[in-house]
Symmetry: C2
Subunit: 212 residues, 2 copies
Amino acid sequence: MEKQISQAVIKRMPRYYRYLGELLDNGVERISSNELSIRMKVTASQIRQDLNNFGGFGQQGYGYNVQYLYEEIGKILGLDRQHNIIIIGAGNLGQALANYVKFEKRGFVTIGLFDVNPAMRGLSVRGIPIKMMDELEDFLADNKVDIVALTLPKEMALDVTDRVVKAGIRAIWNFAHLDLEVPEGVVVQNVHLSDSLMQLSYNIVKHEMEQE
Amino acid sequence: MEKQISQAVIKRMPRYYRYLGELLDNGVERISSNELSIRMKVTASQIRQDLNNFGGFGQQGYGYNVQYLYEEIGKILGLDRQHNIIIIGAGNLGQALANYVKFEKRGFVTIGLFDVNPAMRGLSVRGIPIKMMDELEDFLADNKVDIVALTLPKEMALDVTDRVVKAGIRAIWNFAHLDLEVPEGVVVQNVHLSDSLMQLSYNIVKHEMEQE
């Protein structure tokens, strides 16, 4: 059953999780799909449909128990376990990711940073030492690494992807500006910043044309 | 007609642009939708449908002229003009964005960096001076700013959004971990890194369940 859930639905789940977390912070114990829909600016029917993919969680006439729904969505998103991350590419973006303490609160723990720049040898970010690329395979053999974040130039991304996949990595968070070729069974999540900027630019131009 | 094009289509356009750019770099002058479909791992019919939203560009029996299609998609995405950007939040992520010289090649030029941290006063990134937040309104009045990138904590994002919208900004590239409330006519493009990481985590868990 799980298999049929579309990535479009999955993409919305972290947003539900975020809003429910804010409701909890504000002491809200239960909420109707209508109220949630107004806050989130999606239709109540969309919310019900999305959540029904996972079994529903709502009660007719009561709505959703915020704490329960928050925890259940957390489990669906795999946030009930720890995911160890290494970041390959210790430039500004890699360091930015290593510095996000909020990721750790969600169970995403950065345990290693790697770079090719010998000037970075021995440096560390938030206590995480920067290692050189020739130490990569040993590190992967000696540590449980669940996710590799690639924050490196696209010219290096294919080679590094091959190396980590050979070493058994099954999840890549890719910031390099290309689509990775990976074997069946390896999951890739892309963050293409240029693509995002171009989509913004499209919407700017479109909006201006509508004004004219 | 333009108005009916869905964001799902728009989201795919930068990827076409990226692939066509690579084809150009490799000296490819024309390509059929079938060949493009194999490279991009989408169906040829999807490619034709997507491009037909903008008028087609292909010729029966010839395929697509790569240079022409690249330029036309560039125009659709607003890449035929310069977009001036300021980045608010000069931490690692803000500095990473300021350091992306590739954005500039596409016409996205960072002309200012802002931060609240007085220790940053007088510093600069790639020649772009870091200014203090009390200089923001004057800077926006004196310079043509098309896009504001928000790379700051979510606690500051709402207030800063209000300020830049009041100053006439109509496009926000939001990296803060919340959904901004903006008036009609202001476009927001979100990069929610936590959401992306949770989507990856969902797919890791799902894949493991399938293996069991």
